[in-house]
Symmetry: C2
């Protein structure tokens, strides 16, 4: 039995994935992956997901250049969630141009932006030659 | 509009929640919460979830004593995932008696247990008087 068979895929054939900075421990992103995406991630050590909005395999960084080098894959007790331990190329995981997608914090019953934009998203997308 | 209305609840009225140790940064758990659970978490600063297997509100620690003191709630760019930044009472988040639910790592195409059991689960559950 393959290690991939041990993953409990949901009714859509997906598994939730937490992308975590392997050094700082910061959670950078949350997305879903299908079997092909997880297999490719393990084989090539670069994060692949399944984009639910675009309904396709997504090699993170293919548009932005912000690839994620994967150093480890972790698995939870229930067998239905993964963590990719990553190094974030360019230091930007979020499509808003921020380090992490989790840039809002609840303060006095309001979501407050607690992270700055590192790079204007309009300069990130539309080019495949970003560092 | 309440901050709770800004959360994009899924078709079951749930939102995925990542529980992260506020000091070490380790991801300890992944679960789901409904509106009531998130509201209670923010109000009482102790983690609440919705258990999909038991279909009920779940005050983490109610059986094990392993409550999670919540110091911050973070929110992602798409508005559909939360992080609870927590202090894990007892140092055990997982029902297997381990620190984290993510105790398996992919090594040479196998899921290898890379975390030890801190406490026998049979001694954790069945008592509500654990520290």
């Amino acid at each position: 039995m393959s290690w991939l068979d041990e993953i409990k895929w949901d009714e859509k054939g997906l598994v939730p994935v937490i992308a975590q900075d392997k050094d700082s421990g910061r959670v950078l992103m949350f997305a879903y992956a299908n079997r092909e995406a997880v297999a490719l991630t393990a084989e090539k050590n670069t994060a692949h997901y399944w984009t639910r909005s675009r309904q396709k395999l997504w090699h993170k960084g293919e548009e932005s250049g912000h690839f994620q080098n994967v150093s480890a894959i972790q698995f939870d007790c229930d067998g239905d969630v993964l963590i990719y331990q990553i190094e974030q190329v360019g230091g930007i995981a979020c499509h808003t141009g921020r380090s992490s997608c989790f840039f809002r914090t609840l303060l006095n019953d309001e979501w407050v932006i607690t992270d700055q934009v590192i790079k204007d998203p309009s300069t990130i997308y539309g080019s495949t030659n970003k560092p």
